[in-house]
């Protein structure tokens, strides 16, 4: 009879020994994180398109003001849900499974966290600056907002795709 490897102390079945914060709500938090992620992808993309149009001289101040609060609000909410979920991922997914079975995926997820942090700064900066752009904004300022917003949206897209890939391999809340 084959001997079974000892269970990792971080495995989900070892919950009696280790209790991780927010673990009972992990699946609900993951769903919330995903929904907010899609919202953030769409709002940051819309903001990037609006700021690009503003840089080309189009009058899009209403869109810039509207997405100028929707984009950072959705991204901040997504980041907060992700930060709440992170300890469960760290213990139950990363240390219990991925570090042994797929170390490259661990590094990929770390990259996603850094992309998310940088995109947060870019989107918040672009949104605040974009809301202040007048209808006849100087071209250099409008292009600057467009550059910040486009880079922020691109990083949000990358982070979302990496997050989906890692979740497809081993979602938080699954054994």
């Amino acid at each position: 009879m084959a001997r079974r490897a000892p269970a990792s102390p971080y495995a989900a079945s070892a919950g009696a020994r280790v209790t991780v914060i927010f673990e009972p709500a992990a699946r609900a938090l993951l769903l919330l994180h995903a929904v907010l992620g899609f919202t953030a992808v769409f709002t940051t993309t819309h903001h990037a398109v609006s700021s690009f149009l503003a840089a080309r001289g189009r009058a899009v101040q209403r869109q810039l003001r509207r997405f100028g609060w929707m984009a950072p609000a959705s991204l901040l909410a997504q980041a907060l849900s992700g930060l709440a979920l992170y300890p469960v991922y760290r213990v139950r997914v990363r240390f219990a499974d991925l570090e042994r079975s797929a170390p490259a995926v661990v590094q990929l997820f770390d990259l996603k966290e850094h992309l998310s942090a940088l995109s947060l700064a870019l989107v918040v900066g672009a949104s605040l600056a974009g809301r202040a752009l007048p209808s006849q904004a100087p071209p250099a300022e409008a292009r600057s907002v467009a550059a910040l917003s486009a880079c922020g949206a691109a990083l949000v897209w990358c982070a979302a795709l990496i997050g989906l890939y890692v979740t497809a391999r081993h979602p938080v809340g699954a054994p």
């Binding site: 760290r90 240390f95 590094q107 850094h114 600056a129 904004a137 600057s144």
Partner: protein, 105 residues
């Protein structure tokens, strides 16, 4: 427009403040999810999470730089130069983290 300059200084400082605590081994807030304890330390290892502390470093640096740029109101450098510098710092962060990913593959 001082809003654009403040945003550019804020993003630049965030990129620097977020990147440096790790390589320079600066003390940062770390949370141990198994012990359920947070502490400020330069030596983060094992299951402990330093992401929260690095985010705090970056946010503090970004907010401080944006506030200073907003308060000073000076326009010493062209916005285009500031934008290029900001995006270069963000690209530097990306290159650093990508190099760590590629080194592990």
């Amino acid at each position: 427009m001082k809003e654009v300059r403040a945003a550019l200084w804020g993003v630049s400082a965030f990129a620097v403040g977020y990147l440096l605590p790790g390589p320079l081994r600066l003390p940062t807030l770390a949370y141990d999810p198994v012990a359920r304890a947070a502490q400020v330390t330069a030596d983060v290892g094992g299951v402990a999470i330093r992401y929260y502390g690095d985010l705090l470093w970056g946010s503090a640096a970004g907010l401080l730089a944006a506030a200073l740029a907003w308060a000073s109101g000076r326009a010493e450098r062209p916005v285009t130069v500031l934008t290029c510098a900001t995006l270069a710092l963000v690209a530097l962060d990306l290159a650093f983290y990508l190099s760590r990913l590629l080194a592990s593959v």
